[in-house]
Symmetry: C2
Subunit: 484 residues, 2 copies
């Protein structure tokens, strides 16, 4: 986001509402918005928070250029006073967020914005855009990586991504979610993540024959010689030619490491088993067999079940677009606002759909771990002034099913707060870790889930409870609203 | 794309292959690549080509900055000579493309790149990324707009788009496909398209009550007073309060135009009919009833069938992500290459899947219209040196079903070539029209299809024939390959 003018990356209604607040004189009123989501994508048991670094860059760079101002004036919608106000616009508020790579659950504030209403309103659309996108792809990547059961997974989707950012930031998110690298060179440069790749069919086609193409590739890249074997006929031409070239390399005394083949079409279960047998028989049992053909977590799981001999997975389209669920569904809802005395009044949004009723007030999120295993027992959404006394027993209810409860004895559990300060009084107070460090942290996070939460289908759901105080507040506000 | 350094927006293998061609000395060999797709998205009967303007900007700006060079050197994969070559890299080739907004069909080259292989290879990934994304969204928008049967459709999806570009360029593509405008202000600024919007639930929640919120909004925006009525209770609170405010505006002598309500949740068929009756009874029969709640073309079609009283549609998530089909599937395949004598040799890629066998040679696309109706009869993919003599009868076969053929008599048909020159010798020779002009052209294009091609499900398919000469060439190359 650095160096890009994104002040206008917003829905028009944010600007018309800003002018509304400006004209009514209420624009400096402090409010609190929560950014949260309601449902894990792809039927997953959790999501991976991602995109915070770009959200920070967006906030830090947020100002209206002369170009932006001229455009807005030309729309004929805005008053001269309001336009003048925009000229000096800066974000002056406070943001708390859950760090990238954290395992998160529905209804938890991933981000909490406390700012004058005119500022908090502007940033809604861009923050949702950035966090929704990267959390979606990081979560999808976690699913794909889970299905590969320890095999490395590469992100290969740039050509099918929804535009340059979707390719570049999507690859970043995929790496956070567990991919070992990407084909996207720009992501490699911008975020210091490993870039990988071999060659395309066009390489093979541009030589008189496949064997010559393979020989040339091996000569040029002896240390990373992964040969694409399906241009003409995988088992009758591609694999035999690859074996011939590996033998020639051996004969020349080249140490074979990081070498093998790539399958990009056909029946990957059958072809990989046949290719493995041919490679083994020729003495190349350690050759990598990589595959890349419209893969997703379900296809990888099926190939694993069929005993496919694939040791490196290249996943493109269906990962970079989150094919089965291409949107994350994060929302940004008013939770509290300051009254004339500077006191924050909790706010609630009702809905006929109980899932859509918001949690009022300024909130925090506690994560409760089982000490003996380090695994997550539950999350607890509480009001910001609440604390948990770890010397006392802790009762946890599933907020969706109050009869399901557990009592944790002192000494058996540990508590951590998930939201950390990112901006205070408009100043950035949080530095994003390097992407590969976020990946390492995310791996720990996934390890804090039980196997039953990690599986692809019908996962066990981690209980997310509301504190007694928050539950009482919510009930009271719902009652008040209903009476009106 | 202007001003962005996108030289590294590419898969690593493009660069390793480039170095390969460079080291083998073949890097200046002229080749021809076709960018085409194999299947219309979402079961549609056609696609809308889009993204050419950004593809042009990418090509025009294409150079490696010192930063890029330093990064590539650091990878330890590339020779000093090759890195030196990259320092002065410019695209020097020729590009033909089908203009944006054109109705296109599978297997037609949307873009034809003729350039030294080292250049043609580099641009593959970025061109696919840009064209795939925007063609996808323009096509989805055309479906959504078709289902609205003449009602205006707004693009509202920025917050759920896959990153900033997906939001901004996606909104551009949606407008090309037929949306009357977007909520995305950045798209409005960059591409001169109408921006629209009203207010959010937070506006209503930030006032003591709904009526006050509506009154303030009406006072501030009397000329575009669309009130969101579902914050508390649509029929018992929202619509009555909106009617009260419209009456107050009337009493003040304000001319009511461009006013109405927005429904954002609940049963849109039921609520819109009830709201319409209430508005009519109060004398506001011309009030706009707009709706925006997880809409797509199927839901709009269903609401139309149910007689929903909605006159303006705001479509977000499912349009901006092309929810049911989030990737376009365009590919970039070698079609010809120069031999030592400067003659272009046609190239083919075989596959076990007949759909995946490529069309060899340097090609063009003829579109054949029925003169009496102006409607498309068929497309014909031919070799570049072929012409159609309109004074003679024209026989057209469906290339997927040779027994389905038609004979067009002279005077009854008209022929147009779809590919136009965009770059010649590395110089841009084509100026992109303004986005709204592309939309107007796209509307004409859609009007050149028969109703049976336009419908959402099981559309009639326009025949795309291969010329006799191309068919013979393809057959010969397949035979040669099979013999090897």
């Amino acid at each position: 986001m650095e160096g890009r003018d994104l002040a206008l990356l917003t829905d028009l209604y944010e600007l018309t509402m800003m002018q509304g607040y400006f004209e009514t004189g209420s624009y400096k009123k402090q409010v609190v918005f929560d950014l949260f989501y309601r449902k894990n994508p792809s039927g997953n048991g959790y999501a991976i928070a991602a995109g915070l670094q770009q959200a920070i860059e967006y906030i830090r760079n947020l100002r209206f250029t002369e170009d932006d101002i001229t455009y807005l004036e030309g729309l004929g919608l805005f008053s001269a006073d309001f336009i003048d106000y925009l000229r000096d616009f800066r974000f002056t508020g406070e943001i708390y967020a859950i760090p990238e790579g954290t395992v998160v659950f529905p209804h938890e504030p991933l981000m909490r914005v406390k700012a004058p209403i005119v500022e908090a309103q502007l940033v809604e659309t861009a923050l949702l855009n950035i966090i929704n996108h990267q959390s979606l792809i990081a979560t999808k990547a976690a699913r794909v990586v889970w299905s590969a059961q320890g095999d490395p997974v590469m992100e290969f989707g740039l050509r099918r991504a929804q535009g340059p950012d979707a390719g570049t930031l999507g690859a970043r998110a995929a790496v956070i979610g567990g991919c070992c690298g990407t084909s996207n060179v720009l992501t490699g440069k911008q975020f210091g993540v490993p870039v990988k790749g071999t060659h395309a069919h066009s390489w093979v086609m541009s030589f008189p024959d496949e064997l010559t193409a393979f020989r040339e590739y091996a000569r040029l890249f002896p240390d990373a010689c992964l040969l694409l074997v399906d241009t003409y006929n995988t088992l009758e031409s591609g694999v035999p030619n690859a074996i011939k070239v590996f033998k020639e390399m051996q004969a020349k005394g080249i140490e074979l490491k990081n070498y093998g083949i790539r399958l990009d079409s056909g029946d990957l279960a059958y072809l990989s088993k046949k290719a493995k047998a041919m490679l083994e028989e020729a003495g190349f049992a350690d050759a990598v067999i990589s595959a890349s053909s419209d893969l997703d977590e379900n296809l990888i799981a099926s190939l694993k079940l069929q005993g496919a001999k694939i040791s490196l997975w290249g996943v493109g389209t269906k990962l970079i677009t989150s094919d089965d669920c291409p949107a994350f569904g994060g929302v940004y809802k008013l939770a509290a606002e300051e009254d004339e005395n500077g006191k924050f009044i909790p706010k609630i949004k009702l809905s006929n759909n109980p899932e859509k009723v918001t949690n009022p007030g300024i909130k925090k999120v506690f994560r409760i771990y089982e000490k003996s295993t380090g695994k997550i027992k539950a999350d607890l959404i509480a009001l910001d002034d609440e604390t948990i006394d770890e010397t006392k027993p802790l009762a946890i209810y599933d907020s969706n099913a109050k009869w399901k409860n557990m009592r944790l004895e002192p000494g058996t559990y540990r508590v951590r707060e998930l939201l950390v300060p990112v901006f205070i009084d408009g100043k950035q107070v949080y530095e994003s870790p390097a992407t590969m460090d976020i990946q390492a942290y995310c791996n720990q996070e996934k390890a804090s889930l039980w196997d039953e939460h990690l599986r692809l289908n019908n996962p066990h759901i981690v209980p997310v409870d509301l504190s007694d105080k928050l539950t009482q507040l919510k009930t009271k506000l719902i009652d008040n609203m209903s009476k009106r």
